[in-house]
Symmetry: D2
Subunit: 435 residues, 4 copies
Amino acid sequence: MIPRYTPAAFSELWSNATRYATWLEVELAACDAMEVEGLVPRGTAASLRDKRLVLDPDRIDEIERVTRHDVIAFLTHVEELAGADARWLHRGMTSSDVLDTSLALLLVRATDELQARLDVLVEALVRRAREHARTPMIGRSHGIHAEPVTFGVVLAGHLAEMKRAQVRLRAARREIAVGKVAGAVGTYAHLSPALEERALAALGLRAETVSTQIVARDRHAAYFATLAVVAAGIERLATNVRHWQRTEVGEAEERFSVGQKGSSAMPHKRNPILSENLCGLARLVRAYALPALEDVALWHERDISHSSVERAIAPDATTTLAFMLERARSLVDGLVVYDARMQHNLERAGGLYFSEAVLLALVEKGMGRQEAYVLVQRNAMKAFHGEGSFQDNLAADPDVASRVDRAELGRLFDLGHALRYAEEIVERAIAEDAG
Amino acid sequence: MIPRYTPAAFSELWSNATRYATWLEVELAACDAMEVEGLVPRGTAASLRDKRLVLDPDRIDEIERVTRHDVIAFLTHVEELAGADARWLHRGMTSSDVLDTSLALLLVRATDELQARLDVLVEALVRRAREHARTPMIGRSHGIHAEPVTFGVVLAGHLAEMKRAQVRLRAARREIAVGKVAGAVGTYAHLSPALEERALAALGLRAETVSTQIVARDRHAAYFATLAVVAAGIERLATNVRHWQRTEVGEAEERFSVGQKGSSAMPHKRNPILSENLCGLARLVRAYALPALEDVALWHERDISHSSVERAIAPDATTTLAFMLERARSLVDGLVVYDARMQHNLERAGGLYFSEAVLLALVEKGMGRQEAYVLVQRNAMKAFHGEGSFQDNLAADPDVASRVDRAELGRLFDLGHALRYAEEIVERAIAEDAG
Amino acid sequence: MIPRYTPAAFSELWSNATRYATWLEVELAACDAMEVEGLVPRGTAASLRDKRLVLDPDRIDEIERVTRHDVIAFLTHVEELAGADARWLHRGMTSSDVLDTSLALLLVRATDELQARLDVLVEALVRRAREHARTPMIGRSHGIHAEPVTFGVVLAGHLAEMKRAQVRLRAARREIAVGKVAGAVGTYAHLSPALEERALAALGLRAETVSTQIVARDRHAAYFATLAVVAAGIERLATNVRHWQRTEVGEAEERFSVGQKGSSAMPHKRNPILSENLCGLARLVRAYALPALEDVALWHERDISHSSVERAIAPDATTTLAFMLERARSLVDGLVVYDARMQHNLERAGGLYFSEAVLLALVEKGMGRQEAYVLVQRNAMKAFHGEGSFQDNLAADPDVASRVDRAELGRLFDLGHALRYAEEIVERAIAEDAG
Amino acid sequence: MIPRYTPAAFSELWSNATRYATWLEVELAACDAMEVEGLVPRGTAASLRDKRLVLDPDRIDEIERVTRHDVIAFLTHVEELAGADARWLHRGMTSSDVLDTSLALLLVRATDELQARLDVLVEALVRRAREHARTPMIGRSHGIHAEPVTFGVVLAGHLAEMKRAQVRLRAARREIAVGKVAGAVGTYAHLSPALEERALAALGLRAETVSTQIVARDRHAAYFATLAVVAAGIERLATNVRHWQRTEVGEAEERFSVGQKGSSAMPHKRNPILSENLCGLARLVRAYALPALEDVALWHERDISHSSVERAIAPDATTTLAFMLERARSLVDGLVVYDARMQHNLERAGGLYFSEAVLLALVEKGMGRQEAYVLVQRNAMKAFHGEGSFQDNLAADPDVASRVDRAELGRLFDLGHALRYAEEIVERAIAEDAG
């Protein structure tokens, strides 16, 4: 969590204060459930809530330096503050009941924050895709001019990917919205499945099907892998912005704010630094998924090697992705689109992108595909090397002209026809319920 | 795909012969759809099917060495075999229409093979978990004896994880069951959305919402990440088998076949080599997910950098995981369980695992939690260092005896009570519909 | 950089204050060199140094929020503080001249801190390896008892690995001790190679052979990959401690401090949490190497996607590894070794580990290897299943007794002979100059 | 190892036949050394060599299906072929003595093959860098025109990186050229350090300082990480070719062979598919490093989880990199350079890249840096948006003209001056001894 890349909600969410407050929330929810089961005197949780305890993270850390055990330090501090009633807390529970349930709550909240940011990004993409549904540009494969698309279709592709990201985040949230109040090694020795279900339901969580000492870590692996996939989708968008903004392409550009400086040496430079930044951040989120995958195979009923990993990646991955989503939204919203330049680049291709239409027409006239290919290539290559326009070359080639006359050739070179489905594609992406 | 680790179905699935046959399948499905749309003469596909073409992979490779383009080589070969009718194939399509749709078909089939193997593994886990629902063993956290569990509960944990794997594989199949017949850069310039839908439906696939030249690669990233998560679940199981089989633990053992040799130097050794092998293979499947994540951000409407990656990881990841699932199933089925040794290890703990029950009883008698902790620790540590049994020490400690009498103490040391939910947990895992 | 895992030297090293101070250091070194070349008035750097500027990170951040460019913000702030002379700074330089040279300085310093910690760890391993050079324990392959080793030899293996780590860190330091004062795109348009060399030499750095806008990132990739390898070595050590401390093994244990609590529920538990923690941290350092590898292929003369990555991983990877080295040293120093338990476990094997000696003796008597193997296995298996001791079984087996008499058999069962090279191995590891 | 990407030398190197032949080579070298030590009758190895055994991999596999142990299967087969003498082989050794020493030999040979390919790539880069030492092109940062470079300098940057790769490969070879003939758990119980040294020296290897059952795996981790770094360097080169070949840039192009087809739909397309392929392959080599890093922390004196990993990645990583090096060499050799287009693109920048020279001149005249920046930016931006040339705008700006007259301005706009160090940089890269 680098301050530079940390939205305020996330520095709050992953603070020690929130951490300990969430632990208390879990203990109190468990206490409520224990009261129902008669394990703890009625009213204990209510009385503790009434004290409106303000936990002091520094004090907890101080106790932990002696006990070397964070949950014991926390409970000791609660007992310091709340007195005798606190002894009922954590009854029959193990540290991981608190830690894992609490982690689930924090990850759920983080995911809701992510989803909210993703929703806004999706809206921005919807807006811009519709705006440019009919703005033609040259499509490129291998970085080489291919056939025309519209800018709206291109954005709709990113939109569709981000809608899949919404679905994936929802699934990841479900995976992770799972806590545990099952005691040491998960056997409910001093608790019960009913108690657990009640406590977790109050927190909006489900119970782990079979706990060990902890909630199973395949859930977390799947969760962080999902974040990596979402980040990769933003990386694709950012990569494309970087291409569009290249000097020679110049089709779109990040909004450049007043006062911003592109270079300490070259005053006129306007660099796609937001997009480059997003590409770097995507690498980080990708990397954070790896230790989560290595965390799955813990020993026996648990070892604690996952803990240091999660202390790092739970804040780092969610925060970085949240920042990316915000930045991507602002990137899409602010993107300056140069449609004249798109038109200009499209025209540079000299209609070569209609080669396929010509090829098809020749095949339809009965020519073999390979023969037609050679014929089209001959005329395309001449045009490509600056010798005549493609259309003129074709018209002048007797092998073509004998099959396709000039008028028909004209109809083949129709951009409107080539792009007739553009709006439908955009609207399909918008309409789709990716879930 | 190392022959050693390749189930026969997968060497078949990922052969060149299957690859090209699948391409033809896609071309013919597209041809059918084109006939409906009137783009191609009625009966073309049927007539081609009637020829029962047997493609020659070597001949295709030979042509490719000249054209440097695999789909063109394939089409040329089809035209060699089938004659003039073949010119209608691929009309208005781009290579990726064939390649990506074909990849989808192959991955779907691979996933069905994976799911079938996973289902059998799940059944084996169900069987063994039920068998040992009441077999007590010591639960371990940090590798240290903690509180009792049953072996069935432990297996039920793996079962629950594998049932989540079933759900994840189903989701991954949905992600990947998406093809594309939308032409170059995905605009349907010479095709139509309706045609695409018809062609893909015949193949059991859906159409990509917004194609570029290709199907979006976030799908594949999510797919391979899912395989990595499933593999990590098997790694966890295998890691535990390795622990159980340790000389000092000796609670369970891989089936050792007649004639098998454990060591070239030590004839008596029986090593958990299947499980170790599974751990290594899980590392591979984990690694294969990474380049898939890097493949998402292709340039513009596509670049072909993903292709070499997928040529490697599509066979390697699916095949390795299939092998792992088979081996894991045979591991579970054949696992030799030494319940007497489990009992022995459990007893070694000298009832120390009842410390929590004692702690809770003391707290219930009104003692502060930290005070009770110290009291229990005092007696536990004596027993731990060989001085008296834990129960006797407690009975002899006046601070305990004044609160908990000997009879009550006896009730606290009841294994049956501690494990009263074991069968319920096992049955819950079996009953759960993880989907 | 999680405070919990951050040595003080590293929170200082990676602070904004140090960052900007290092930038100034670089600018002044370059200014000195420019004075020599006559590009800047003599005495400029000295006069600026005399002002003992105290940079205000918050003010720089404030300016950056407008300029969106960190080096320009820094220079503006320096000009605010130092007045007119500051205009000579950065003459003909580009931001990356400052940033990359500064990063090199910080990484060099971090590496020196790492090396210092590694040296102390090596010393601890030397000490403990010598101490236990002759402490026998059972060696294990596949977690199964194999043949005897000594604990000193085992530690010497870790020692040898950490000495290789020293060599690798030195090489990594060389890779990274490279700066750049070559201006935009590295052409020295307003500078010169001689000037660059002079400026960097004053900082203890070499010049990049061929800069682009920046220092080449293969250096950083190699650097962070090296940290991952070193971390994996510590992971191996920690994994072994975890095994030794298992309840059933009990051969060595992390030092348990007074007041430390192992479990919130089980007062007697002593868990190898430091070692588990080290395993988790190794996963993180491993992961941090990946984005560094992805950073190599920047576009053209540079893109800035590496920057966000390095803002995260440069502090995170070096700090985490530093913490690991400190913790590993304290782990080794404090390791409580239970040699009686080692002896006990060794004896449990009932001399089966001498099976190879017997096998060899039989082969030397002319028996075929496979035949001898079967013979030894027969007797080993009986002993393994509790039927007689291995040595007695052999003596009673006529096929053995006819070849190896009881006295000779006795000599084969000699632990001292089996371990005769133990001290030599330990001393070899200590003596080795791994460089 | 996909046939498509496998140089012949590597399919040979990683064949089963070579594998088993290398095992025999190791056994015979050990046998020689044992003869010297008097452990085995003199002449045994010579007599076995005289038999010129031709091992049958299929037969070995057949035996392994029963024994489940590859080295025992191999020894059994050797005994089948060679008769009684073979019983002296492997005396006192453990399987890993053969396997790890053999792996070292194979990796050393693979590395020599890699180095040979890298050397040729370096030569190609030397040739092309010299050829274009003075070919000006626009340098780009962030994909945006920055200041001029020469194409030779750019290639020299790749050259310098590949020379560092040579050094890294040499270091990696040293890391890996380490075998082991130390018996089970590495204690020389039936062998000796002197014997080991002799046997390994005959194979061109050094002895592991402290073996466990195996050679330490940090060596392999460092080795595969090195391959990943080298691959990333090629990825950078390939990425740049892809950029140069973009339609809008057009500065260089992969050689397009006669008969090659760029697209099944667009006959004129010439796509940088070799370069894209290299980018994908780099992702694979990067991924293969990861499981090697996870292999380090084996349990105790060894577990065999690394084995399946290495069966996959040792062939896959070395072969893929070898193919990459070959392809990169052919890419560099065949690269078609369009210097006229470079010139054209350079001129498009309208001299804006001289902005820094102007900025510096103004600062030298006493203007504050920020003030000068604003002044230059004002005129640059006008030119950038098509209003006048940059030089004319400056000349017409009274704030500039009052300080820098037209003649001086002319001297600032001198490309030759800006690139005066280009050849020196190229020659420096060529001359450098990176080792």
